[in-house]
Subunit: 118 residues, 2 copies
DNA sequence: GGATTATATGAACATATATTCATATGAGAA
DNA sequence: TTCTCATATGAATATATGTTCATATAATCC
């Protein structure tokens, strides 16, 4: 019970953070986010051309990023123009880029991505 | 070719960011990180008791967090004491908590975590 | 020494998820 | 209207990954 009181109720926060970081934990979605970090505003076709992936794939991932509050979308004629959703996302990306720069060796060996050599 | 030159070579950065965010994209690992955000330094047994999960599970996840440069470990007798690895991790966590707080509705509907209602 | 405690890790399995394919919607052009 | 172009999305599949179980290592205590 004392253990229980000391334990913080993080249920909704945990779900939100898991969702948020999951959205950033994919190579294709990261490519999209980095692209939007360079150029403010891009259509689906822009991303298809720049990233060399299928329109279906890009749209699926944009749907994920949009639902997770990482990008926002604005209809312009028949185009959908996507931008990063606010400064916090940019802050996190910049800080994360700094962090991995300072720890690249250990991170590249991380077994979430690939098993260490046999 | 002009397309090629405009395209930034992000290969290692992408792999590192994917690895980093993947490490944070799991509920159990987030529980560990949030715990270490509250109390500086915790042994595996501390986490087992506080989080109510098996020792094996905690150790597996700590291995991941350690490899990805999110936590660091210090042997103290037969205990392994874990702490967050630097201020950048704390910054990212705090900014992410702010962000999801400002977007909780859309994030809770994110289909990375669960399908939207039929 | 043996026993106990603390931690790490390999293997197996069940589930989650990224990608592809097919197709639907919707806007603008002819 | 009909024909493209731009985008979104459901279904299917292959792969990735979280969890459990069993066990190994290593330190401390008796």
């Amino acid at each position: 019970m004392s253990q229980q009181t000391e334990r913080v109720n993080n249920e909704p926060l945990l779900t939100e953070l898991e969702s948020f970081f999951s959205a950033l934990a994919d190579r294709t979605r990261l490519e999209i986010v980095l692209l939007l970090l360079r150029k403010e505003g891009a259509s689906v076709q822009d991303m298809v051309k720049e990233l060399g992936k299928s329109q279906s794939l890009i749209s699926h991932h944009l749907s994920c990023l949009r639902n997770c509050g990482i990008v926002k979308m604005e209809k312009r004629g028949k185009f959908s123009v996507y931008t990063l959703n606010g400064e916090t996302v940019k802050d996190i990306m910049r800080t994360a880029i700094d962090h991995v720069g300072a720890h690249s060796k250990s991170i590249l060996a991380c077994d979430v991505i690939r098993e260490e050599g046999s």
